[in-house]
Each structure stands twice: as C-alpha cells, then as structure tokens.
Symmetry: C2
C-alpha cells in the first residue's frame, strides 16, 4: 500500500473487484496460477488482506471470476470476426497471446469452479461464437458440424498453446497471427 | 523411508535415478510440476535428502531429465506408427493421455533447461518422427511440408491438451483415441 493510503481508499466496489482481477492477471503472468495467493493480491492492489476474500471468497472463487472474464473476452473477440472461420481462428490465437493469464486459467479447470453457472454461460457464448465460424464453411457432402468444430478448435488451441510454450520451430516465423492464418488454411484444402 | 531401510539401500545407481524420475511423475500427477520439491521426491523414493541433488543438481535439472525421457518416449511412440499420419497423430494423443506428467513438463519449457543438448536431441527425434507421418501424405500441388507439419502438430497437440483439461464437450465421446482419429481425418478431406 502506498504511504498514507488507507485500506481500499479510492476504490468503488466494482473498481476494487476489477483492480483485484487485474492484479491477479499480473501475478499469474509472473509465476503462473498455482503460485497465486489472495494475500499477495491484496498487497499488489494496495488493499486490506480481507478485501480479496470479501469479493471472491477464496482463491478458487477468484480464478472462477477470472475464467468468466476470460470466456467473455474470448466470446467477444471471436464474435467480432464476423463468422469467418479463418478470422475466427486467428482471433482465438490473438486472444491467447494477448490474454495469456486468462487463457492459462480458463483451460486449467482443476483450479476453479468449472461448473459455476456463470462460467458455463460464458463458455457456452465462446463456443457458440466458434461454431458461428464453422457454420460459415461451404457445405460439403461429408460435413459433420460437431467434428468440424472440434477439429477447428483443436488446431487453433494447439497452435496457440505451442506458441505460448515457445515450442514452435523458427520456420513458424516471428508473427503468431500470420503463422496461425497459414496453419488454419490447411483445414480448407 | 521404510523402517530399518538405510539411505539408498537396494538401489543401484541407475535404478535410483529411475526411481526418482518415477516419484517425480507421481508427484506431478498429483499437484503439477510447479509444486514439486526435491525434498518431497526424496521422501517419496525413500532415499536421503541429498540423493536427488546428487543425481539432478536441482529441480530444473530433474525436470530437464524428465523432458528428455518424455521426448524419447514420444519419439518411440510416433515411430511405431510406421509413418502413417493418422496413426502418428493418434499415437501423439495416446502418449499425452498415458504420460500426462511428462507431457505437461515437456511443453512448459520455462521449468527446465530447454536448450540442454540432450533435450534438443530428443526433441529433434520426436519432431522427425512426426514429420515422417507428414512425408507419407499423398503429394498435393500446394504441399508445404513445414506448414503441413505445423498444422498436424497443432491439431493433435490442441486435441490432447483440451482432452487433458477436461474441456471437450460430451459430443467428443468417452474415448480419446477414436475422437482424435475422427478429428485428425478432417485434415485429409
């Protein structure tokens, strides 16, 4: 906390919640979600030790809120791709690169309450946005929408995960979006 | 340690190393690689506190050895698919499901010495086995081997990662191998 600052000073209720989520994103970016503690979050946000527990209950509650925020952001990003499958896939990879901490939490469901109704609703919105891209594919005799959606999800999730892990060979180039575009195109050939 | 057992009793040098790696796999399966400690490993293997450091130096050294072992196992599994891309992809997913702890460490290169020469050599063997599957694809006018290999790697890595995260919808079915087979086939159509 800054000198002279009292606990929670200057925060409205919603602002403090957002500040704590932002502090969580910062902490996860540095050390991953497993190392996160509510005490560390309170220190980062400059608020009382009790504030994170008041807002989120416990660490799983905080990560649940972060997962909801992440799936909402992902649904928005995919939706803005306008139903084009290639652009939807590129938007998925861009989301993972730009929101690495959210992405890491969202796909580590052991860390949060994955059956929370808000998580389920946000995840369903993201899923619907992804399937919106699939539906725009030209009709094919052998089309199987569930299977095609899973193939598209797998290829963009795998590319994003390998990129974030630094596992890709130099031939993939320095720009995740253009490399992803080239890889996703492989699904259309 | 069992009552009456002396430090390292009953272990030949190579056996102790293998016992420590097996204990690490068990510990990672329970709590992930971030929570692993050499002290906990020694306790699990029933050996002196000094034994893990003697064999691996530090935690990063232990995880480096686990990554080498993982890439070797992966190269063997992919190689046994006999150069068929579909079977190579299914073998990748089977490896991830059967060797979850290795898989998690291999693709978290911040946790170990990813530039270690033994890691690089084992990773290159696994990469060559994956590309062996790609090379067996029928020739196509627009074939781009680097890009096709990255697409195949992305789709199997993404499928395996989503499966391990418990993120897939019920429509994917209960069996990872048959679901993977159906998804990978999408690359050939």
């Amino acid at each position: 906390m800054l000198p002279g600052m009292t606990a929670n000073r200057g925060y409205h209720h919603g602002d403090l919640r957002r500040a704590l989520l932002a502090a969580a994103v910062e902490a996860i970016g540095e050390s991953g979600p497993a190392a996160l503690s509510l005490r560390d979050l309170a220190r980062r946000a400059g608020v009382s030790h009790a504030a994170p527990a008041h807002h989120f209950g416990d660490k799983a509650g905080l990560l649940t809120a972060l997962a909801v925020e992440g799936f909402d952001l992902l649904a928005g990003a995919l939706g803005r791709a306008g139903g084009d499958l290639l652009e939807t896939g590129v938007a998925y990879v861009r989301f993972a690169v730009d929101h690495r901490a959210h992405f890491e939490v969202m796909f580590a469901p052991g860390l949060y309450r994955a059956d929370d109704p808000e998580v389920a609703a946000a995840r369903a919105r993201a899923g619907a946005a992804l399937r919106g891209g699939i539906a725009a594919l030209p009709a094919r005799p052998a089309a199987e929408p569930d299977r095609d959606a899973l193939a598209a999800w797998s290829i963009v999730h795998g590319f994003a995960t390998l990129w974030l892990a630094g596992a890709l060979p130099p031939a993939a180039g320095p720009d995740p979006e253009s490399a992803a575009r080239s890889v996703i195109r492989r699904l259309f050939e």
